[in-house]
């Protein structure tokens, strides 16, 4: 078995036992997707990931895309894998049936994406960008745009990109300068330089559909002046097929530490007559549209980080079972055979920590996927609004928590392999390098933190925060009388009381003229609330596992569920206690960070 694939029992546990995704088939949109259909889709995903994604993960890392005679050359396995992915229908998974989509629930698609991402995240990135571009067009595009672009995107015939970042506008999108000039025929001509555009140029698809943020000539400064444009690499000819090349120049490829199979590009729009594009949605609403999708993209980034957390865990676990080194404490006789390092408590510590991070993170992202499903298809408007609210506040956490802690998990994976982990003969170093991207793109850790504390916690008079607390409290209340879990419920209850008080304190500080100091602590707040949310989801997982154990399952299932409870226990014993000191610091709100003059560094 390939070491990095997420085990099927784990995905089944999260999808069916925890999130009950088969119940989504009661909703008309997902009527075709009962448990057996979802299981068969996961079968195909697993087979494809194993046979066609995992095998070239290393090779794509070693042979970065390069330029040859002005064309980007990628190893052939990348295109071949993506073709199979598209032929199997995965590119169209969540799309609307009207355009060739299969209306698979979002939560299920996230699990499928996690499987592929654990096998090979850089090849999977092309697919995820394409799915995201299709989603965006299906929500904001005009009827004509949908007709032109959705079928080939969902078929994987064209690929997509998200072109936001510019050299002077990374985190600060308000500063972006790319211009769009209206033409008489209703199209626009775009001029500007974009940087870090993933999948921005390659020969893997017949066309590339760039979704570009730019400004109209009369647009106000700042984010209100940003609009969204669809700018294809090749302009559609009279028959709709890709025709003349658009005025988009590849100014260079970026050489990265990870995700090396994905091309990262500098793109110049409009070096000559301007790149032809079309407005998507309304003028001035570009960032809002992008952010609508960004919520989903951010969950996908966290989901990828969780998948890499699983990959590192699996890789180091397989190694720990095989590598014999040392003897149990007390057994000093050198004539006895050495034991596998999995026998050592300290190695178990590192593996259980990875398990707690990876499985906690995936539970979080799939839970958010389930909220995305509810936001779209829950029975009534209040239920949809509630899902939307919870999703709003959980999104920065779903993006950042897996990115931070599954990276830490990958760090431990290297440690489990000792010196071998530091060599390029084992996969764990690449897994760590790949995952190092995730706290950076789609909004850095710091930007997520500001989104959480500066916007999400405050919006609607704190409605989302209150709702989240209610949900956590409901799980606590339900667990209080379950003997093995009651102490966890108590610990979570105590910390939740403190989180509420700290949050109120921070909001008061912001309102009372200490906004810069308070927001300067946003990352600490993000990490504290993140740990509380994941502890909550671990308690939920443990409740399901405990119920399973009460039914006296067979040996393998017993071991699986016991492992779940142990990971939950580990999280409550060693991770949740980290939150107290963070909250202490947030109560003090020491001014050093905000106030230290720059010349003191």
């Amino acid at each position: 078995m390939d070491d990095s694939l997420i085990p099927r029992r784990e995905l089944d546990f999260l999808l069916f036992d925890l999130l009950e995704v088969e119940r989504l088939a009661e909703r008309p949109r997902h009527a075709d997707h009962g448990r057996d259909t979802i299981a068969a889709m996961l079968d195909t995903a697993e087979a494809l990931a194993r046979d066609h994604f995992a095998p070239h993960n290393r090779k794509a890392d070693e042979a970065e895309p390069r330029l040859e005679n002005g064309r980007v050359v990628t190893i052939p396995e990348v295109g071949a894998a993506l073709r199979r992915f598209s032929e199997a229908g995965f590119m169209a998974a969540v799309g609307d049936a009207e355009w060739g989509g299969l209306q698979v629930p979002y939560s299920v698609n996230l699990a499928i994406n996690a499987l592929f991402s654990a096998a090979n995240i850089s090849t999977m990135t092309y697919a995820f960008l394409t799915q995201a571009a299709a989603n965006l067009i299906s929500v904001f595009g005009s009827q004509a745009q949908k007709e032109t672009w959705l079928p080939p995107l969902l078929a994987g015939d064209f690929f997509g990109t998200m072109a936001l970042t510019e050299p002077q506008a990374g985190s600060s999108l308000a500063d972006l300068r790319t211009r769009a000039e209206p033409q008489e025929d209703g199209s626009y001509r775009l001029f500007g330089a974009k940087i870090f555009i993933s999948g921005g140029e390659h020969e893997l698809a017949r066309n590339i559909v760039h979704l570009v943020l730019a400004r109209l000539p009369d647009a106000p400064p700042g984010v209100k002046g940003i609009s969204l444009f669809l700018v294809p690499r090749f302009l559609p000819g009279p028959d709709g097929a890709p025709g003349e090349k658009n005025d988009i120049a590849l100014a260079g490829l970026i050489h990265k530490m990870g995700y090396r199979g994905t091309t990262s590009t500098l793109l110049n729009f409009g070096e000559a007559e301007g790149a032809t594009g079309w407005l998507v949605g309304e003028a001035g609403q570009g960032l809002a549209a992008m952010f609508h999708m960004m919520n989903e993209s951010r969950v996908i980034v966290g989901n990828g980080a969780a998948a890499l957390g699983h990959a590192g865990y699996r890789q180091s676990l397989a190694y720990a079972r095989e590598r014999a080194q040392g003897r149990p404490p007390g057994a000093k006789d050198p004539a006895t055979p050495q034991v596998p390092i999995l026998r050592h408590a300290d190695v178990k510590r590192m593996l259980l920590a990875q398990k707690a991070y990876a499985e906690g993170a995936l539970a979080l992202t799939l839970y958010c996927g389930r909220l995305i499903d509810d936001e779209h298809t829950a029975d009534d408007a209040p239920a949809r609004a509630e899902a939307r609210r919870l999703l709003d506040i959980l999104t920065p956490i779903a993006k950042s928590w897996p990115s931070q802690w599954c990276l830490e998990g990958n760090n431990l994976a290297i440690q489990v392999l000792g010196g071998y982990g530091y060599t390029r003969d084992y996969p764990v170093e690449q897994t760590w390098r790949d995952n190092r991207l995730n706290p950076i793109h789609e909004g850095t850790h710091g930007i997520q933190a500001q989104d959480l504390l500066g916007r999400k916690v405050r919006q609607e008079d704190g409605a989302a925060f209150a709702l989240l607390c209610d949900r956590i409290e409901a799980t606590i209340a339900a667990s209080r009388d379950t003997p093995p879990l009651a102490s966890h419920a108590g610990a979570l209850e105590n910390i939740l009381v403190r989180v509420r008080a700290t949050t109120a304190g921070l909001l008061a500080a912001m309102a009372g003229g200490r906004a810069e100091t308070a927001l300067g602590h946003a990352s600490v707040y993000l990490e504290a609330l993140g740990h509380v949310v994941v502890a909550w989801l671990w308690l939920k997982q443990a409740r399901v596992a405990q119920a399973g154990l009460d039914a006296a399952p067979a040996a393998a299932e017993h071991a699986f569920l016991t492992g779940k409870l142990a990971a939950c226990h580990h999280f409550f014993a060693w991770e949740l206690p980290r939150v107290g000191p963070w909250l202490d610091g947030l109560a003090v709100l020491d001014g050093t960070w905000a106030s230290l003059p720059e010349d003191c560094f």
Binding site: M41, D43, T44, E87, G89, A92, A556
Partner: protein, 249 residues
């Protein structure tokens, strides 16, 4: 023409097999089960015959517990038209399977039955041959190529010394070897369509077959653990050891 394909539900080839602690068999509780890989090749071959216009209907058959329905759904998602489950909780040995298939063949009257040359769980390599004998049909086993023309089949067989080509009359029982084709993945749209294809259930009683086992399993054990190798300084020592210690030359 009509093609019948037999598919078996087995422990997935990626699963590390564990022997039950009482040595009565291998652990199958909570273990991922899939279609026998040789049977996937059989389904693929049948579906290709249909796509080429040679076959008009492909019927998949599985025999065993209720969950074999999942295996049949896979066959349907790969392109089979309908499916039949002969449902039983009983242990089925190759002879019983062959007898049951014979009765299904009598009902369905296919022109060809395709099976995997063996199943990866028991590696028996018997069912196809037994079925051909019971039916009195021609057989083309270990096929790496099957060509149909004028009521005859040319089957290229993988034999120890290389390839053997036989020409046989229809109706035919053929068993598939690895090189016959590369089976497709069940695509998402086809998985969804498969749900709506017919799946009928029969029982051994309805078919009038006594499936009582003829063989008794005495004991199932793990293969012996491989001993670690050693390095030898030169070829002469190697040859010496092969002669005196391993006694293989």
């Amino acid at each position: 023409m009509k093609v019948l394909v037999a598919v078996k539900r087995v422990v997935d080839y990626n699963v590390k097999i564990r022997v039950k602690s009482d040595n009565t068999g291998v652990e199958t509780a909570n273990v991922k089960m899939s279609m026998n890989p040789f049977d996937e090749i059989a389904v693929e071959e049948a579906v290709r015959l249909k796509e080429a216009g040679t076959a008009s209907e492909v019927v998949a058959v599985s025999l065993g517990v209720k969950q074999c329905q999942e295996t049949l759904r896979t066959a349907l998602a790969m392109g089979a038209d309908r499916a039949i489950l002969v449902e039983t909780e009983a242990e089925l040995q190759p002879l019983a399977v062959a007898k049951l298939l014979k009765e299904v063949v009598a009902k369905e009257s296919p022109d060809m039955v395709l099976l995997g040359k063996q199943a990866i769980d028991d590696d028996a390599n018997q069912t196809g041959q037994m079925l051909a004998a019971l039916m009195g049909w021609a057989q083309g086993t270990f096929a790496s190529k099957i060509t149909l023309a004028d009521g005859k089949a040319e089957v290229v067989r993988e034999v120890d010394g290389g390839l053997e080509t036989v020409s046989v009359n229809l109706p035919l029982v053929a068993t598939t070897d690895l090189r016959l084709n590369e089976p497709r993945y069940a695509s998402l749209p086809n998985i969804m369509k498969a749900k709506k294809k017919p799946l009928d259930t029969l029982t051994p009683d309805e078919l009038g077959v006594d499936v009582a086992p003829r063989l008794t399993t005495l004991k199932v054990e793990e293969p012996p653990v491989r001993q670690a190798g050693i390095k030898v300084p030169d070829v002469a020592t190697l040859i010496d050891k092969l002669k005196t210690e391993a006694k293989v030359i």
